[in-house]
Structures are given as C-alpha cells and as structure tokens.
Amino acid sequence: MSLINYTLSLADSTLLLSQRNSEWCGHGPVLEQDIAITNLSLDLIGQARNFYQYAAMLKNDGSTEDTFAYTRDAREFNNLLLVELPNGDWGATILRQFFFSNYQFLLYTKLQQSNDEQLSAIAAKALKEVAYHLRWSSEWVIRLGDGTAESHRRINEALQELWPYTGEMFIPVSFEKELADLGTVPDPASLKTSWMEKTAEIFTAANLTLPGNVFMHTGGKEGTHSEHIGFILAEMQFLQRAYPGAEW
C-alpha cells in the first residue's frame, strides 16, 4: 500500500505541475520560451504516465492511468502543495520550476538505485530530461534575479510567496518513512542539504537572498490541499466527469 501511495504521490506532483505549466501554452513571454515551458509539460506528463501505469499495475483492481488522473477527488491526490499553486507571473513559474527540478534531480539520482526495478527505471529514464529542466530553470532564475530592477523585484516577490511551500519536499510522510526504512526509496530529508546548496549557489549568481526560517506548509502529500487544487481538477477532469469513459 505504501508503494502505491508513494508512486501516486510522484505521479500527482508531476501531473499537476505539467497541467500548470501547460496553462502557459500560447501565453509565453516569447515564442521560444512558450515552446520550452510546454515541452517541460510534455516531459512531466510522460513521467506522470509512467508512474500512474506502475501504480495501476500494483493496485491491480482495474484502475488505469486515466482513472487515477481523471476520476479521483482532491483528497485522493498526494501531490506537493507547491505544484498546485497558481502560476503567477513568469518569474514565479520559473522559480517554482527551479525548486521542483532541483528536488527531482536529487530524488531521481537516488531513486535510480532503488531495489524497486520499475521506480528505478522510471527515475533513470526521466533524469536526463530533469537535468535539462534544471539547467534551463537555473539560467532563467539568474537572468531574472540579476536582470532589470523590475525582473528582480518580481522574482523576489515570487520567492517570498513560494518559499514556505518548499519545506514539504523534505518532510517525510508515513508512506515515505516506511519505504525509506526498508531502503526502497530515499528519505526525503536526506535530499535537503544538497538542495539548499544548489539553491544557494544559483541565488548567489542571481543576486537573491535565501529567506530565513519561516513556517512551512504541509499536507499535500497526505491529501490536505490548498483551495487551488479544486480549480485545476475542475478544468483537467471536466471532460471525463461530464462524459464518463469518453474516448476519441
């Protein structure tokens, strides 16, 4: 059961960030970056599909990648709160992507050593793409942070807004603890030091200051969400809710 919840948790975070990033389609600041952010969405939805397919196989009750994505309610989603937040401006979208890619890069690097063959295979496959995302988002954080007064002000505002949602990545919940104790997956807490180092390195280049200790929001990985998730699900699930089982 823990393995199913863990796999769904990874799937949900990648799916929702994919959905959020795809909202930029046709609205990117320039064409190349519009294409970039939607390509990221495509990579993330590919990862989500792999995790959902694996969870469906483990659950073995007729669930499919589609029933997981389209027919579960908010409380059944185990994603990080960070990814369900509205996009905000380009600076906020970029900063969130950097936080998430930095986390994914560390997580997948360790997860490819997992004794669970399928999680290991998905992580190894996705890691190449995540390295690309990390590079792209790092460069953009620097460009905006060390850019104009306006771009600096905006990404700094995004930083104050998003930072309290970064702690959740490293605070293990019950299914993560259980699997980490078995040695199947990395303990999320073990990723924090490297994540902070990378963040500090990019922030120094971007002329941004790491916030001090603040209250960190949690709950997403156990189904307690912000009000924003309902709006995403309403849009993402509309078709299957209105016309159950529709295919084309």
């Binding site: 190349e32 970056q33 294409i35 970039a36 390509n39 990221l40 495509l42 990579d43 993330l44 939805i45 590919g46 990862q47 599909r49 792999n50 890069f105 063959e117 399928q118 290991s120 295979a121 998905i122 190894a124 496959k125 996705a126 190449k128 793409e129 995540v130 390295a131 690309y132 990390l134 590079r135 792209w136 790092s138 460069e139 620097i142 990019i202 280049a205």
Partner: protein
C-alpha cells in the same frame, strides 16, 4: 542472441538475427517514426527485442523521450504491419530500462537525418549537463555544413529537438538534442 546493451550505433545496427525473426525485422525496418518520417524505428534504435513462436510475435520497444507521444502510434503501426503480414498473436511491450540514448541511433539514420535537414546528435553531447551556462556544443549546420552556428532555444518543435540557427547561411534548423 545479443542482449540490448550490446546494440551498437556504429555503421549498421547490429541486430540479433535468426531465421525465425528475420522477416519481422524486415517489416520493422519499414516502419517510420511518425515525427521524423525519414527514420525507421530501427534507425532510431528503439526496438530492443523480437521473439517469434510460430505465428506469435513479441516486440519489445523503448521510448526515446519520456513524454514522446509517438510511442503509442509506433506500437499501433507495429501491430498493424505484423497483422497484415499474417501474424496472429502480437504483443508490443514497452520497457524503460536501460534508458534509450542517442548513441543507439545508427550511422545510417544520422546520415538520413542530416539529409532531411535535422542536425543529428553529436557523438559526445555537452548540453546534457545540469549545470548552468555550460558552453554550447558545436553543431554542424545540416544545410551548408558550417560549424558556425548558435543555439536559439534548448527546446524545439518536438520533445527530441532543440532549435539552432546557422550564422553563415542564416537557415534555422533543428538539432536532435542530447539524451
């Protein structure tokens, strides 16, 4: 039979061939990638294994990029072509490990890509690295063969490509990005 790791992108692809699977490999060599229609799925190096038992066939493929939407279409094409050839029971399985790499693309495939106007992957690719502002690698213009080119965007028209422009002939072109 060679296992998947032994497959080499050098010269012609070395595929495990025996009498029973040869006709299947021949059929697969005519199935094109829907997004880069000059490349067969063998040129791409995504077919990992073929097993044949009378009229039952199992084909194992691996996706190029995680989110590549062409994989489902390729699976369908394989099934259709094999059905048309008279095979009754056809299984097309997808595996993720070991992960596909551009090194598995055949030399023949790279040549066809260049002729099609897409710069093939370099043997050693630098932009895979996660560090910021790593020097862009030299990519040869597929049109005028100049090395005097620059990256326009790390992401391009499909998941497998990034966008470049030639500083000499000024033509924009796609580069099959690192993986």
């Amino acid at each position: 039979m060679l296992n998947g790791n032994k497959m080499s992108g050098e010269n012609n692809m070395i595929y495990p061939v025996d009498i029973s699977t040869q006709p299947v490999w021949n059929i697969l060599s005519n199935i094109m990638d829907p997004e880069v229609p000059v490349l067969s799925i063998l040129d791409l190096g995504i077919v990992r294994r073929v097993t044949v038992n009378d009229d039952a066939v199992e084909v194992v493929i691996t996706p190029t990029y995680t989110g590549c939407p062409a994989v489902d279409m390729i699976s369908t094409s394989i099934r259709m072509e094999l059905l048309a050839a008279g095979y009754k029971s056809i299984q097309v399985l997808q595996v993720l490990s070991p992960a596909w790499t551009t090194e598995w693309m055949s030399e023949h495939g790279k040549k066809k890509l260049r002729e099609y106007g897409i710069a093939p992957p370099n043997n050693v690719q630098q932009v895979c690295h996660h560090d910021r502002f790593v020097n862009d690698e030299s990519v040869q213009c597929p049109h005028c063969r100049s090395w005097h080119t620059r990256m326009v965007s790390e992401f391009g028209s499909t998941a497998c490509k990034s966008l470049y422009q030639c500083n000499d002939c000024q033509e924009p072109f796609d580069y099959f990005k690192c993986h």
